[in-house]
């Protein structure tokens, strides 16, 4: 009898599901893709009537795809995963749909949530922080102690330590991402900021022709001699491998997604040796770089209510904890950062939470992609010795001045 009732209700439910919601989600590939897949599966367990299609794209392809789609108002996507640097462009073009008050929660670390508000930090939210990436600095404490070195407090310390380690051991002093475009720029920004300089000043004008910027770039170029051969074409996986194999003592820029396996003896040769902390500064306080992956609902979506429900689910404390534990995705809620299980697994999470709350976003300009690409081109030319630091910055300044849109 009970079974029959179940059957009937199931039939009833399935007839209702004729007008069941359909969601198309545009997301990233690689570990972000796996994480999103997990969220989708969990969501469908709870809401079996919702039909979800998850599209996984590499970062560049995702950007191209969502921009084309939102510009033509195709209604292709109901939820998009986006890098926080894309937000100024999307928001100023009115491509995103505002979220209701209900999604706001004190538990979110405000630096990561406010980045989704528009036009200013007290306005309505248009995006929710799913992955609380913040650029950290990694150094091998064991190797430092072996060489009577102490924790690097400034970029000059980093340079000095790198020199000592490179000379006295087989290990490379440091490693960073040297591929042109986004990687080399994000590799360089912590140093640029550490010297008190920036790509764009508070008025939104290019500001690379300053003495501070020149010092920063010269320090960056000096670091190359302590980096592995071919660092000019290093990307995330090479940096991660160098750290895990123990072939580099420091990494200027590491993102949380690269480090969950540092303490995993199966793949890591440096279990327990590495320290992850906010990057050093040369002057003033360190400003760790934010790299939040946000979830948002395009203005042309046809299922906004359902989409918002998915956003809330995907950023809930429960899901964030699972994502952190199983996929190494850094949370954006302070309760998850203080969760016992999570801290037990990632001993650097307290530092990371602190870095996140003082985190600094990359310049909020409309065409950051273009500015970043120009800067990346000239950084690499300087890195290859085809230009001096001063020349490279001058050229970059001139080109960026011309294209910048605030």
């Amino acid at each position: 009898m009970f079974q029959r009732t179940l059957l009937v209700s199931a039939l009833f439910a399935s007839s209702l599901s004729l007008n069941a919601a359909e969601l198309v989600i545009a997301g990233r590939d690689s570990s972000y893709g796996d994480a999103l897949q997990f969220v989708v599966d969990e969501y469908q367990n709870q809401q079996p009537d919702t039909n979800i299609t998850l599209v996984k794209r590499p970062s560049n392809g995702l950007y191209e795809s969502v921009v084309l789609s939102m510009r033509e108002q195709t209604g292709n996507y109901d939820v998009i995963l986006m890098d926080d640097t894309w937000a100024p462009e999307f928001l100023s073009n009115n491509w995103l749909s505002p979220l209701s008050q209900q999604v706001e929660d004190e538990d979110f670390i405000s630096a990561s949530f406010d980045i989704g508000r528009y036009p200013n930090a007290s306005s309505a939210a248009y995006a929710m922080p799913m992955v609380g990436n913040v650029a950290m600095f990694a150094w091998n404490r064991a190797l430092f102690e072996q060489n009577q070195l102490s924790e690097p407090k400034s970029w000059s310390d980093v340079l000095k330590s790198a020199e000592v380690i490179s000379q006295s051991t087989d290990t490379n002093g440091l490693v960073f991402r040297g591929v042109k475009g986004n990687p080399i720029v994000t590799g360089f920004l912590p140093i640029l900021w550490g010297f008190g300089a920036d790509v764009v000043d508070s008025e939104g004008q290019a500001s690379l022709d300053t003495p501070e910027a020149k010092q920063a770039l010269e320090a960056f170029l000096a670091m190359k001699q302590y980096a592995p051969r071919g660092v000019d074409v290093y990307n995330a996986d090479e940096v991660r491998d160098s750290l895990q194999k123990g072939s580099a003592a420091m990494a200027i820029e590491v993102w949380p997604a690269w480090v969950p396996n540092l303490d995993n003896p199966e793949v890591s040769a440096v279990v327990g040796d590495m320290e992850i902390m906010a990057p050093p500064a040369e002057v003033g306080q360190p400003s760790p770089m934010l790299g939040i992956w946000q979830l948002a609902v395009p203005a042309d979506s046809n299922n906004k209510a359902e989409a918002e429900a998915f956003l809330a689910f995907a950023t809930s404390a429960e899901i964030q904890k699972a994502l952190a534990l199983d996929f190494g995705m850094p949370p954006t809620r302070s309760s998850v950062y203080h969760d016992e299980d999570v801290v037990a697994k990632y001993r650097w999470y307290p530092q990371q939470a602190a870095a996140l709350s003082t985190g600094k976003a990359r310049p909020r300009i409309h065409n950051w992609a273009e500015v970043e690409s120009i800067l990346g081109d000239f950084l690499q030319l300087a890195m290859m010795g085809q230009m001096s630091a001063e020349q490279a910055l001058k050229q970059a300044q001139r080109r960026i001045e011309r294209v910048i849109k605030v």
């Binding site: 198309v24 545009a26 590939d29 690689s30 570990s31 893709g33 299609t53 998850l54 599209v55 996984k56 590499p58 970062s59 392809g61 191209e64 795809s65 084309l68 789609s69 033509e72 195709t74 292709n76 996507y77 990307n235 995330a236 996986d237």
Partner: protein
């Protein structure tokens, strides 16, 4: 004796050409652990089918069918349309050198990098409601395949002696009958050769399918392959296995059509 020496030279060249392919096949059959440890080894220590198993369990077979269908439809459409237009261009001198202008325009389209047309084409396909459909891709691929087919077929049709057609016309065959029963059989080898190249174009097309297709069940093979290369590294086993499997239909096609291929070319370009 000299013949064998000659044969030896050729086979050595063939050997050099085939080395990367050998590496691809070997990698496809390596176990995941072995790929990580010895990227440079030319042969697997132990044959592992795990990459193939993972492929076949996923949507790969479905996507092969998708892509084959799209490439076939695009090629069919291009061949039909270009057969007609190449015939008209060969047999009829259009006023004011319009035929020349048309051919030049076709050449310009052939030379144009597809990236140039991609954005406006996206708007167009969207307005037609053909985004994320096979038909949409078939249409878009005409930008690559149609100019190519027109230029290829031009030569083949030009080689068909006018006298044969005149004789057919005496017997009362009108234009479409002649096209179907005289011209078509005579340039069949040319059509086959053109079809193979056009199939290869459609089978390997990347840019348009990247931009115009957005759900995984409609992906074409190149899009699917691209998924194996991520920021976290490359899934070598799967990539090579998928590359190998997806080249087989083309290889079979070309192998079967080998003789037509050679004959086709020589007829067309004499």
């Amino acid at each position: 004796m000299r013949r064998y020496l000659h044969g030896l030279t050729v086979w050595m060249m063939v050997g050099l050409f085939v080395l990367p392919v050998v590496w691809m096949v070997a990698t496809a059959f390596k176990s995941p652990g072995e790929i990580l440890n010895a990227g440079a080894r030319l042969w697997p220590e132990q044959i592992s089918l795990s990459a193939f198993e993972r492929l076949l369990a996923g949507e790969f077979p479905l996507l092969i069918g998708n892509t084959l269908l799209i490439a076939l439809m695009a090629t069919g459409l291009s061949l039909l349309v270009s057969f007609f237009s190449a015939y008209a261009l060969v047999r009829y001198r259009f006023p004011a050198k319009l035929d020349g202008a048309f051919l030049l325009a076709v050449l310009v389209i052939k030379m144009m990098p597809p990236i140039v047309v991609a954005t406006p084409l996206y708007s167009l396909i969207n307005q037609l409601g053909l985004l994320n459909t096979k038909l949409g891709l078939v249409l878009c691929y005409q930008v690559y395949t149609l100019p190519f087919c027109i230029w290829m077929l031009l030569g083949f049709i030009r080689d068909i002696p006018l006298e044969i057609e005149e004789a057919a016309a005496m017997d009362g065959a009108h234009l479409f009958k002649r096209l179907g029963f005289v011209v078509f059989p005579l340039c069949a080898p040319g059509l086959v050769a053109t079809a193979i190249f056009s199939m290869i174009l459609g089978w390997n097309e990347f840019l348009f399918s990247l931009l115009f297709i957005h759900t995984p069940d409609k992906f074409t093979i190149p899009l699917y392959l691209a998924n194996f290369m991520t920021e976290d590294g490359t899934a070598w086993g799967e990539l090579m296995a998928a590359g190998l499997v997806s080249s087989l239909p083309m290889l079979a096609l070309a192998g079967y059509m080998q003789r037509f291929l050679l004959r086709g070319f020589s007829l067309g370009l004499k």
